[in-house]
Symmetry: C2
Subunit: 394 residues, 2 copies
């Protein structure tokens, strides 16, 4: 089933066995799952996917779960790739496609990461989990941990959208709110994990979440007949979705399903929290902690991402870029996507559209380009931050 | 593509051409779409579906849209059928499956109806639509009408969940709130349509919405290898989902994909609005207007359904039943589904689980039965009605 062979540090290259729990490498680098790609290449073909259910587990050879019985699933993945015909005309983009991750369980792409991560926690015999979150990852892990029968403790900023807090509690997770950001929540969880023996499943400290997220990239390739799009625009908080897709593209090149061409990867952040954009513009290989981070796009409020160096490497190696958009531009793009295409995106997803607007204006996107933007979550979780337009009362 | 031949009154049998707009039959009966099933039977096989995308349009021969260019789609359908292993053990049910319609665009099964209905409005050249709604249908029609470039006016009770009101406004629909129920909203819209020349797309007045909804039944059959489940438990407001599935089962029997066996169809209502349950218990063929309707399950607050006689016929002909559950039972079932299976259902979907609990207790469901419950929408739209369990603040 799975062709997983081992874990490898993304910083120093040190290898670790995959069949025991691991967190970060002692050097501080996140561990990445590695597969027997040479073995896979000899027999696995795109046509083999044909009869499989349209969810992320259709790529199970490239996912880390060994035994089918350990798969914790709520039907994640298989989200639609929607053509934004009116918008592409208005913007003058060759082709604009929206991968609508809001149609996942728990309403965001985080379901993919949680499905992979929780399944592996179950497979490796972990009992009690804990994590910090900026929002939707908490919902997803609460749902999947509950489904797996595992306890989970989730710390989040006290001003995380109320719908998300309520949702986590509905699943029976312990919800801890902190006066601060995800970084403060992370410190709190880290200390509690050491004290209580919980397993810390924070982004990239836990090595399998990224494996679920990479299927966002595999699906788009499959939907496009294993042709890579020209540009992928991705809202970047922790950046794991982007790193995951970049990793997946290398993997499917290794097994011969695509060539050496890559989409230009674009990391979009909010002006109120743009550590990776700053580092990119300054030519740095890592980011600095972004002080006083605030943006309406809760999921982008990550002041320092553990995988920042990988995001920066991914966008540079693919000829991509990083740019920030304002909350005003985000909310305008959210309205535009809703009233033009009927897609009620999360502010994070709207940020990707706002970025396309800017990149077209600057000429960075020009001509007959095929552009894919990711709406990472449903707008339904953020209705508190929308001012109702005021209906008629009769 | 479509094998649609004509429309037929569900009450008097009168036939109408399908390629012009129609509302109710002058006799007051809703019109139903009819297909050339004999023609279809000669060549259409389940295996023909294999290569098609996993959304509701895979059944396009049994859907009313003539030209592919008129399909207004946001990726509706293809929702997961989730095994509720823990709950089936706890309840002592042979097999309990949850069809999770919350993973549709706009977060509910209403997306299926809106996709079919709006596509046909577009195909028939209608320009401006209007409808009453108890909640989620408004969200769905707002999104799809917007996507089609059609104007839409939506009237709903003033106490419809706030998230839903905000969502409709986000799509740019005109939202009209009324002090009253969907029936009052319906009267308001009816009058405005006569005055303004808008097309009234209220449930069953518009004949194609039901065609989209019936795919909920087709998908379950396909997922079960064209075996019918023993029992289908369906939360029933207007009841069109249930009527649609019943209709779809007859259609696929006519083309030879299933035999004469039918699932026992169960209509679940809330104690605070149970007109069909009352009629069923009284042995009536139609329901009476339910005074002072109130329930936390907004979608079930339909005091008098146009298709009541069809719901009653469907449950009687299949050996099903109708029963009401209390709001307390609904909220308890919602918690139970979330903390046991990781599924955060709408109160309507939770009502279906509450009904299963009662039917097992009464012995109506016994032994090795395969039971499918429909979670008609995402719990995210109803977080206002959930009292947060109160997390820890640090």
């Amino acid at each position: 089933m799975s062709y997983l062979t081992h874990l490898e540090c993304s910083r120093c290259g040190q290898q670790y066995p995959s069949e025991e729990p691991h967190a970060l490498c002692p050097c501080g680098g996140p561990l990445l799952a590695r597969y027997d790609l040479a073995g896979l290449a000899t027999y696995w073909r795109p046509a083999d996917l044909a009869g499989r259910p349209w969810n992320m587990w259709r790529y199970r050879e490239l996912l880390p779960v060994r035994e089918e019985v350990n798969i914790v699933s709520l039907g994640e993945g298989g989200t639609p790739l929607i053509r934004a015909t009116r918008l592409q005309r208005e913007l003058g983009v060759g082709e604009l496609l929206v991968k609508d991750e809001g149609l996942n369980p728990t309403g965001s792409f985080k379901a993919r990461g949680a499905a992979a991560g929780v399944s592996r926690c179950l497979e490796l015999g972990l009992g009690e989990l804990a994590m910090p979150t900026a929002g939707n990852a908490g919902s997803a892990w609460a749902a999947y941990a509950t489904r797996a029968g595992l306890k989970i403790h989730i710390a989040m900023p006290a001003d995380t959208p109320r719908v998300i807090q309520t949702e986590c509690q509905a699943y029976g997770a312990e919800v801890i709110t902190v006066d601060g950001l995800i970084s403060d929540a992370g410190q709190f969880i880290g200390a509690r994990c050491r004290e209580m023996g919980w397993f810390d499943v924070a982004t990239l400290k836990e090595p399998y979440r990224i494996e679920g997220k990479k299927t966002m990239g595999l699906e788009v390739l499959e939907e496009l007949g294993w042709q890579v799009p020209d540009v992928i625009v991705y809202p970047t908080g922790g950046g794991v979705g982007l790193i995951g897709m970049w990793k997946a593209f290398d993997e499917v090149e290794s097994i011969g399903w695509i060539g050496t061409q890559r989409p230009r990867l674009v990391a979009v952040q909010a002006e109120g929290c743009a550590p990776i954009v700053r580092a990119y513009q300054a030519g740095e290989t890592v980011s600095c902690f972004f002080q006083d981070a605030w943006t309406v796009a809760a999921g982008l409020r990550v002041p320092k991402a553990l995988g920042d160096f990988l995001v920066l490497r991914a966008i540079r190696e693919t000829g991509g870029t990083a740019l920030a958009v304002s909350d005003e531009q985000i909310l305008a793009a959210q309205r535009r996507l809703a009233v033009t295409e009927g897609i009620f995106a999360s502010p994070e997803g709207a940020a990707a559209l706002a970025a396309v607007e800017k990149l077209v204006e600057s000429g960075w996107i020009a001509g007959e380009q095929r552009v894919v933007i990711y709406n990472t979550g449903s707008g339904l979780k953020y209705t508190d931050s929308l001012v109702p337009a005021g209906g008629t009362r009769v």
